[in-house]
């Protein structure tokens, strides 16, 4: 019984670490070329995108997931919200941005991604 309880506690600790404490991996650089963000299976891929400050950026979105959750992407900081057609490219133009991190996500925040704006 002790062992089972211990396993349970370790699992809880792992959940906390994996979902909340873990620092995410490197971001994909979007400054050089158009990047296509694929919306599928519950995630944006890539989900961390690096862009340069003061530059207009365009992102391509390609939604392969039919779930209604995934149908809209929001960039709340820039008042952008776009419908993503199923299985078709959608270009989203972002204004030039100040240094910082900006979230983009679906209306339910199940799909989330981060724009990392850096100085050149």
């Amino acid at each position: 019984m002790m062992i089972i309880n211990l396993i349970g506690l370790v699992l809880i600790a792992l959940i906390v670490w994996w979902f909340w404490l873990y620092k995410p991996a490197k971001a994909v650089d979007a400054s050089a070329d158009n990047i296509t963000v694929v919306v599928n299976n519950g995630i944006y891929q890539p989900s961390r995108i690096k862009v340069f400050e003061g530059k207009k950026t365009t992102l391509q979105f390609l939604r392969k997931d039919g779930s209604p959750c995934a149908a809209t992407v929001l960039f709340p900081a820039f008042e952008i919200s776009e419908e993503l057609p199923l299985n078709a490219n959608k270009t989203i133009e972002l204004p030039s941005m100040l240094t910082g991190e900006y979230l983009f996500h679906c209306p339910m925040k199940m799909y989330t991604g981060t724009l990392i704006v850096e100085k050149e």
Binding site: I12, P46, E79, P107
Partner: protein
């Protein structure tokens, strides 16, 4: 990384639309520029259509750059119109719906018989080797169903897990996965479990997958309906336009696709046709039905110099107009954009649910583990079985779908509903605040009144003059003046078909009026002071003038050869429905205050007519925002309604700024809420819609919270010690599917909301 690789070497034919090519000589330049690109085989331009057809292996972006480098604009002719995009979306949704329904039937095809068997009291336990064999077979069938009908949950769960995020897929995959693995353990190693716990839950796995797929499918269906407003707006766009262009050196009228209409094109519209792009009429006279955009039922008359708006319907005459805004710049396109954006923004009331759904899933996973541990430690026999059931049920019932859908669904319908009534709501926040307004400040001129003074009365004092002669004399006198009242007289007389003539010896006497000679007669036109100064007897007309002044009109005396000829009264008429609209606001318990730069007497007279008791008169334009602040200091949530540029600071300071954009002149970006027609009923409509939407959101949030917050403890077995009740995972699956469906359906109910007019 997912870069699109662009080294397609196939030959293809592409079409570009060229903007800025005004002369035939441009054709050669453009063709040469395109042909000189490596990989372009041919480039041919159709000057009439302003299109170039290019064959070769070059990507369209390069072609566009080449055209731009020689000073023209180009775009791809294949860019899809909103209309096509919506159709494609519908088709894709339809396909997705069908595939989901197939998955539903497969899963329920196994789930329902198993469920019936178990409910009928059939043993779900594994004791004999025959039972082991049968259950093993069913377990494999169940795995096949998990693959066919539930693959997307497992892939989604895994992908988001590797991405350090968790979503609904995670919960569903964990829940159904736990049930299946436990059942397989029972089949293979029954001996490691106490006899009472040798129970299989394959029916739960199949049923949950089937039910959640069903919920998703119904949601896809219901969602299609919420975007009706956008579809309606997009449907207003014309598909083709008839433009005048040079064909073989001669101007001709040709029909082209709407995307090909360029700035400054001359467009022909015949009766019964839609206006294709925004423009200014350069020839002809017609009446245009703008109701689809503004909600204003009366057709609007248009002649030269008047603006026409894309999407409206030409009723009677044939006109030529010059395109002033095309493509994404038309008012209609901007309205569509704004409605879309507003539909996807969230009022602050919805953000709580956001934060909760973002943290919800890991919390649920932890809850599920804790509940399993509690059952294992303290639960009655068979503790293992209870632990598995409660852990699975917690995972399934906690899906935050309904919570996350609660706000966006209602906002989408509410904003769309408002747009149908000619009310453009800028974002979710404006929608929410509008429902809480306690005081409304109305600017007088242009908001309560028409904003354009008109001649209302002509009282003739000397019967030897006809009314038309009086008007002709007065307007001839005033045609040189720029005073707004003078302008009103000139406009009114021209409208009744009388043209002003020239006068001589014109002399303006400040603060009094004007004086001139008209056809050899001496005219005096102005106030009482002017008449007294010139010794014109006024007799009983002084009282008549006073009576007019009491009615918020401005009376002016006209004397011909020093004898009083008539009184002409001018006033800014109150809009026909201002009184009833203000009554509606007051009936909603809103304190209505009038604000004006006019003098107290006129202001009070107007206020009395429309039933307003509070008046701020003689307010300088720069002081308007102070009045907003004053009311806010009294604790009011202030709405401010105005039409002019000088209202902008007050509109910005108010909790909600309402801009009146009459018809064509839509001040889309300037206010929180834009009323597309002049009527103040738009205000009452906006408030009614926002109240209804907020009520709907609250219902949705309440439903979703109750379901999640009450469902989880119930599923964890909190009721068991008292009532011996433990939630069945299948019931949890059904509840989860139907809770999001309920939310979507409740939001759809808003579509039938009608703001009550009059």
């Amino acid at each position: 990384m997912n870069k699109i690789i662009k080294n397609n070497t196939d030959k293809k034919t592409q079409e570009l639309i060229i903007d800025g090519a005004s002369c035939a000589s441009c054709v050669g330049k453009i063709e040469v520029a395109l042909r000189s690109i490596d990989g372009v085989d041919s480039a041919e331009m159709n000057f009439a259509l302003r299109t170039v057809t290019v064959t070769g292996t070059v990507e369209i972006e390069l072609l566009i750059k080449a055209v731009e480098s020689i000073g023209y604009n180009a775009k791809s002719a294949e860019d899809k119109s909103d209309d096509e995009l919506i159709d494609e979306k519908d088709i894709a949704d339809q396909k997705y719906y069908k595939s989901l329904m197939r998955q539903v039937w497969i899963a329920l095809g196994l789930g329902i018989p198993l469920m019936v068997y178990s409910l009928a009291g059939g043993p779900m336990t594994v004791d004999t080797s025959l039972e082991r064999g049968v259950w093993f077979f069913i377990g494999i069938l169940c795995a096949a169903i998990m693959y066919f009908s539930g693959k997307h949950f497992y892939i989604g769960a895994w992908k988001s897990f590797t991405n350090h995020t968790a979503n609904m897929d995670t919960l569903i995959a964990l829940g159904t996965g736990t049930a299946w693995i436990y059942s397989m353990v029972v089949v293979f190693f029954p001996m490691i479990l106490p006899e009472m716990a040798r129970h299989v839950y394959f029916e739960a796995t199949a049923m949950i997958i089937g039910l959640i797929d069903l919920g998703l499918a119904l949601e896809v269906k219901a969602r299609g309906r919420t975007s009706e407003a956008i579809k309606r707006l997009i449907g207003l766009q014309a598909k083709t336009a008839r433009v005048v262009r040079d064909v073989n050196g001669k101007p001709q009228e040709i029909d082209i696709a709407i995307e090909q209409v360029l700035l400054n094109d001359i467009v022909r519209v015949r009766p019964g046709e839609k206006i294709s792009v925004d423009g200014i009429v350069i020839q002809g006279y017609t009446s245009i039905d703008e109701s689809m955009l503004t909600g204003e039922p009366m057709p609007v008359e248009k002649s030269e110099e008047d603006e026409v708006v894309a999407g409206t319907l030409n009723k009677t005459g044939s006109i030529l107009f010059k395109a002033t805004r095309v493509g994404k710049d038309t008012a209609l396109a901007q309205i569509i954009n704004m409605v879309k954006r507003a539909q996807n923004s969230k009022p602050s009331i919805g953000r709580l649910a956001d934060v909760i759904s973002a943290y919800f899933v890991p919390v649920v996973m932890i809850t599920s583990i804790v509940s399993a541990l509690v059952w294992l430690n303290f639960g009655p026999d068979p503790a293992v079985a209870f632990a598995v059931v409660s852990a699975t049920t917690v995972l399934i019932i906690a899906c935050p779908c309904a919570l996350g859908l609660a706000t966006p669904m209602s906002v989408m319908v509410g904003v769309g509903k408002a747009a149908e009534a000619g009310v453009l709501i800028r974002n979710g926040e404006a929608l929410q605040t509008a429902s809480k307004i306690t005081a409304m400040i109305l600017d007088k001129t242009g908001t309560i009144t028409e904003g354009a003074p008109k001649v209302t009365d002509v009282l003739i004092a000397d019967e030897s003059y006809s009314e038309s002669y009086i008007l002709k004399a007065a307007s001839s006198l005033e045609s040189g003046s720029e005073h707004p009242l003078a302008q009103a007289i000139v406009d009114s007389t021209i409208q009744s078909g009388i043209d002003p003539e020239t006068v001589t010896d014109f002399n303006a006497i400040a603060g009094h009026g004007v004086q001139a000679t008209f056809k050899g007669r001496e005219l005096l036109f102005g106030n009482q002071k002017l008449m007294l100064k010139n010794g014109v007897p006024l007799m009983e007309f002084v009282e008549k003038a006073q009576k007019l002044a009491d009615e918020a009109k401005t009376p002016m005396y006209l004397a011909i050869d020093k004898k009083l000829a008539a009184i002409i009264a001018v006033s800014d008429p109150i809009k026909a429905d201002s009184v009833s609209a203000i009554k509606r606001l007051q009936a909603n318990g809103i304190r209505v205050v009038m604000l004006t730069g006019d003098n107290k007497a006129t202001a009070n007279a107007v206020a009395k007519k429309v039933g307003i008791t509070e008046v701020f008169a003689e307010v300088l334009p720069e002081d308007k925002s102070n009045k907003v602040a004053e009311l806010q200091a009294q604790g009011e949530i202030v709405g401010m309604t105005g039409d002019g540029i000088n209202d902008a600071p007050a509109l910005a300071l108010a909790n909600v700024g309402f801009a009146i954009g009459t018809g064509t002149d839509v001040a889309i970006e300037s206010a929180d809420i834009t009323l597309m027609r002049g009527s103040l009923h738009g205000l009452a409509d906006a408030i009614a819609v926002s109240k209804a939407t907020l009520r709907n959101i609250k219902q949705n949030l309440f439903g979703a919270f109750i379901y999640n917050v009450a469902g989880v403890p119930f599923a964890a077995g909190l009721l068991y010690p008292f009532f011996g009740l433990l939630l069945n995972p299948v019931i949890a699956g059904a509840a989860m599917a139907f809770s999001s469906l309920t939310v979507v359906t409740n939001a759809n109910r808003l579509r039938f909301f009608k703001p009550q007019e009059h």
